[in-house]
Amino acid sequence: MKQTASILSVYAADTSGACSALYELGGMSVIHDASGCNSTYTTHDEPRWYHQDSMVFLTGLTEADAILGNDEKLVGDLVQTAMELRPRFIALCGSPVPMMVGTDYDALAIEVRLKTGIPCFGIHSDGMHSYLHGASQAFLHVCEEFCETSVPRNQNTCNILGLTPLDFSTNGSVQKLRNILERNGFRVIAPLGMDCTLEEVSQMGSASVNLVVSHAGLATAQWFQERFGIPWVAGVPVGTEFSRQVLMSMQSSAQTGKCAVPCAETRHDAAQDAPLVVGEAIFAGSLAAALETETGAPVRILCPLEHDASLLRKTDSTTEDEDEIAALFTTATGVVADPLYRPVCPATVPFHPLPHEAYSGRCYRHLIPDLIGTPIAPLLAAKENVECFVLTK
């Protein structure tokens, strides 16, 4: 059955991605929805919810409001709340029902901005795209709004683009990422999305290079390239040798101004029976690249999420279809994927669980490893140490 997943899970939705991207920046994220989007986000997709405050709200859209096009009530609620809480910005995020009735988030944002004097923007989320779609828009809006345009370029500096706990959890990997960059001569101006403030965002235009660590950061990187001439490098410094390659790419890009995609360019096309890494294009591609450098054998990736063709090798796969994913698994000599993929992996194919917060939420959060700068090959040697759901007849 095409477009039907009877066994597999789905990735976190775009509303979660948007709220996650904006969580630490002092703004007010408002999901225009009846309910459900917010509890899914706060319960399953946001590990910071219980120990770090953030203004995340739901509009409580009713059937009557949707049918009657009661936008004035929404604008009134947004204005009243914003005047009380004085957020640094307001993000109005869409959901399926407003999408169906044609709610114009950009127009509503203009009205709210005019009435409050607070920067306000609409996020075109609809619950039908992945977290990357929402986070990507959110990052871009924040940079367009708050980056100062006349900042001098600083040598040996960088931003990190595309960070959310949905890809990096809260296991210390962001701090380690920052450490590895600074140890190698790059001062981090803004790790946009995690451990980052709006004041840091305002200085992002002074970086000499941007490191893009997920597809959610790509549109923002391209904006910085067009607006400020800052080149970008796509890759996550996982593994020891591949980390070195990412850092070398950053140094080279900072000097030449040319962008680089080590997560795809350092890999070779892989045979159909090569091991398969499943996940977000840049993270999975980086894992595959690190595995290839450590084992000498090319690795394929399966990216069932929004992606850019330039981030992939032509032998990689992008299907979202459950049957096609199951068929891909049968030809692989090993699969590295979130534990919730285990039920469609044949028993004869070694399965190496790597929990991904955007896929299994909090289920395996405590088992998500920090892979920054550490060897990856042991992943393939690891026994199945995560309890997986296995289908029984």
């Binding site: 096009g69 009735v101 044609g102 114009d104 950009d106 127009a107 005019l114």
Partner: protein, 254 residues
């Protein structure tokens, strides 16, 4: 690129008027795109000899997102790019949402950047009944709205509703009201009634189309008056209207 949307009560003659305007602009050497925003998908029928063209929503139904811009646009009379949004199965689905989806697909597939029209005409179904049918007024789509009406009370009532919607959306940066087009039905006090309507909205009548047998005779030929009877008074009237419409855009830049 000048982008304009035409609204008015069902049956008032929007598609006939819009197609004739498209033909006038095309004969002036402009690149024209006409987008029918009506599930009946008959806006552009007189621009391509009455042939049924595949709608955007037909393509979505058959191919999901796997279709090209060329499949959505059909080149008709004098190179006019004809697009029909189409709609759901009659009695099912949501026609308004269909219009949104079709217009978003056009934008996503780069219709405006690739074809680079000088003039884009949105021919929108009847009244602004829901969020879907206001989509052509949204920022990034039409810059001006023109409302067709006769002097009949029901038509004036519909026109007033549309004008109120345009006024209501002013703070959102949507399309502004370009003016009213009087499509005569020859009812008593017709001009005075429509002039009063225009005054109520601080606007004016920018064109008056007479009731004409020539317009009716062009229809069974599946041609515009401009194509079938280019020397007729009705054709001259459409040319005058086209000139007035272009003037409303120039007024804004002056």
């Amino acid at each position: 690129m000048l982008k304009m949307a035409f609204y008015g009560k069902g049956g008032i003659g929007k598609s006939t008027t819009v197609s004739n305007l498209a033909a006038v602009f095309a004969e002036q050497g402009l690149r024209v795109m006409q987008i029918g925003c009506d599930p009946k998908a008959d806006s552009t029928v007189n621009l391509h000899g009455g042939t049924r063209i595949q709608t955007v929503l037909d393509l979505v139904r058959d191919k999901n997102d796997n279709f090209s811009l060329d499949e959505m646009m059909h080149i008709g009379y004098r190179g006019i790019a004809c697009v029909e949004a189409g709609g759901p199965v009659p009695g099912l689905g949501c026609a308004g949402r269909g219009i949104i989806a079709a217009l978003e697909k056009l934008q996503k597939k780069g219709a405006y950047e690739s074809y680079r029209p000088d003039i884009v005409l949105y021919d929108v179904l009847g009244d602004v009944v829901c969020g879907g049918f206001s989509m052509p007024m949204h920022k990034g789509y039409a810059d001006k709205v023109f409302i067709l009406t006769s002097g009949e009370n029901m038509s004036i009532h519909a026109a007033a509703n549309i004008a109120m919607a345009v006024d209501h959306f002013r703070a959102r940066g949507y399309a502004t009201l370009g003016g009213f087009i009087l499509n005569r039905r020859d009812v008593p006090n017709e001009d005075a009634k429509v002039e009063e309507l225009a005054d109520d909205f601080h606007s004016r009548i920018i064109g008056r189309i007479p009731r004409s047998r020539v317009i009716q005779e062009a229809e069974p030929l599946y041609q515009t008056v401009i194509q079938a009877f280019p020397e007729s008074d009705a054709a001259a009237c459409y040319r005058t209207l086209a000139k007035s419409i272009l003037a409303t855009f120039q007024e804004e830049t002056c």
